[in-house]
Subunit: 389 residues, 2 copies
């Protein structure tokens, strides 16, 4: 057998779970301290997203318990809508499974890889399965599921599923044991939760640290963030390949209707104008679009005046609540001044709209001899590891 | 329908190709200039690895052509063993497919995600398919394959496959068109190839830049790197979950034989000692190992004296060839001194052995007014974006 055939015999498919098991740094598990924050973050992101989607004021309990040298049990429990029984194993035991991946709208976790990656990291480093309890309103009982991930297949392996009586009407409880290191101060779980509380003044977050100390970030406002709506991509900044993909899979028969139905802010009149500037017939079939024609189309996007993208896919915090969030969490430091928070005009990048917001406190009992502290967030998620200086 | 059921309807599987399409920065495509270097790198890594495996002195041609604003055609052609016909679409058109992922041995690309990610990035940004020609020695003809990736399924979509007459006896030619920006100087394709030539003195690399200029990095030595052998993991630094996985899937019936057959450097005598120190019966079934027992086993690994891991899975460059490589590529700067290169003792991290090597040149016509330049490499691959200062 020749060498090429010998090599061919070794070529085979790799499961995504095996891939991430070997490349856990890609998902943020590159140090014992960071693994702790990432694990809490993924679970809390899910809780906040689920509560908002169900229009529930979030009440989240985070417990970190030391269970051995460099080994911690992380528990996150919420009052969210719960997960239907048959999906529990998939949500926690399968990488690349999720509900928010394909939608253009603001959410925290959206890659379908967050919480299942934590389960994977836990079983890799401690050998211990994850324990989930979830109850939805319609069911009489909650379901307790003990599971691991079959990394060779990227499928959940349910060790035990038990219907149990739970005192909550609805909610989800996740319990994962991981190898990690608990720290205080900078880039710690506490700092992450504190910052999360600032930008989510509608959430109540209770944290019990490994020493059993309880810290409560009280709800600062009984107002849920405005519900977000899924939108179509905006023409600005879209990639050529993405445009071609959309043109091939659209149900529209004419180029103009393709533009008006698949994009934000393209009216029939603007669609005609775009086609004209691209030297294309408005009633050609989108599927027939060649690469060269698609390029001309993209160039025309920039030659017409398009309205800024709709912002109802976004949920800015707003002046009032930024101030409330800052006051609630930093109030004990008695800052001298709260500058008026700013919410900028929406912009668009890669077809996705975004809004920049900023708040500022200074003076008072804030330490004078330390450099300015910048807290950065994206989609209401603190960027602990990408902070400005 | 309750909210939990509504949310469940939206939960679905995400293909790995869709995931990386949305998260291309994870794979290194986070800027137009970096995308160029990464694309060349992935193809060249594959060529070098394939040649070494087939014991062929690599002769690699890299061509970068400008084909439009911010659009480049990248061609990499080698004299390697070629790829068997039926595997061509999978190697280039399916993410997470490869031959080196599961093996512990030194290789450059090993994640099964390199070259197919380039194809994905190319089609996303330019809409253009990849073109591959490959011929293996046993076949009369070469096969030309034009393909894209079906991102929804993560499967290759072959547009055209043609048997063609090729003047090479064996080899592979890859052609991908991507959106990028060509730069000279730091972190450029030229710098990447130059550094690659330094640590691969057995390779001849020819580069044709977008202006048609041809630069040849001549082969400095007709000696192929020592062939690498796949090894078992070394007990030091293995993760608990990995140990449990291995214990569950082993064919060994007894704990001692599990230790001697699945690990490097564990003799029957040492295996007995490990079991004893872990208070475990040497003839217990590995499958029955509990988490607590596995932990004791891991602690015992560190209580016995184990030989350093075998190094035949590694292929150090060696004193002589480091010097030759440096001379060959930097010789025109006439450095005054070549310090004697160093090859350190092998160490082990996470069960994987590694060796540190270093070479040093100074004086001569090297610029005196510039800071010291450190070139870092891993597995003979230049770390252009993680250089020391």
């Amino acid at each position: 057998m020749g060498i090429a055939h010998k090599m061919a015999k070794k070529q085979k498919e790799i499961s995504i779970a095996e891939f991430f098991e070997k490349n856990k740094q890609i998902l943020g598990f590159d140090s014992l301290t960071k693994a702790m924050v990432v694990s809490v973050k993924e679970a809390v992101d899910n809780s906040l997203d689920a509560c908002e989607e169900a229009r529930i004021l979030p009440d989240i309990l985070v417990i970190v318990e030391s269970v051995g040298k460099d080994e911690y049990r992380i528990i996150v429990e919420d009052n969210g809508p719960g997960i239907v029984r048959k999906n529990i194993p998939l949500v926690f035991g399968k990488l690349l499974y999720g509900s928010r991946f394909h939608a253009i709208r603001q959410s925290r976790g959206q890659q379908g890889i967050g919480i299942s990656a934590v389960v994977l990291y836990g079983q890799l480093t401690t050998g211990k399965p994850a324990r989930i309890i979830s109850k939805i309103r319609e069911d009489e009982v909650a379901y307790e599921v003990i599971l691991t991930i079959d990394t060779k297949k990227n499928e959940p392996k349910v060790i035990k599923e038990t219907p149990i009586i739970w005192d909550r009407e609805e909610g989800t409880h996740v319990e994962v044991t991981i190898r990690g290191r608990y720290i205080r101060g900078k880039q710690s779980i506490l700092e992450y939760l504190q910052q999360t509380a600032i930008v989510n003044p509608h959430a109540q977050i209770t944290f019990v640290d490994p020493d059993g100390r309880k810290i409560i970030f009280k709800r600062a406002a009984d107002i849920l963030p405005q519900p977000t709506r899924e939108i179509k991509p905006h023409p600005y900044g879209i990639e050529l390949g993405q445009l071609l993909n959309m043109a091939r899979s659209t149900k529209a028969y004419r180029l103009t209707s393709f533009l008006t139905t698949e994009f934000s802010r393209v009216s029939p009149k603007i669609a005609e104008e775009i086609c004209k500037k691209a030297y294309l017939y408005g009633d050609m079939r989108p599927k027939d679009l060649t690469i060269e024609e698609a390029k001309r189309l993209m160039e025309s996007f920039n030659k017409v005046k398009l309205m800024a993208p709709p912002t109802d896919c976004l949920s800015p915090i707003g002046e009032n609540l930024i101030k409330k969030g800052l006051k609630n969490v930093l109030g004990s430091l008695k800052p001298g001044f709260y500058a008026r928070p700013i919410t900028r005009e929406p912009k668009v990048y890669g077809g996705n709209p975004f809004i920049v917001e900023a708040g500022l406190v200074y003076g008072g009992e804030l330490p004078k001899d330390q450099p300015v502290k910048i807290l950065r967030f994206a989609n209401r998620v603190p960027l602990l590891y990408q902070q400005g200086g």
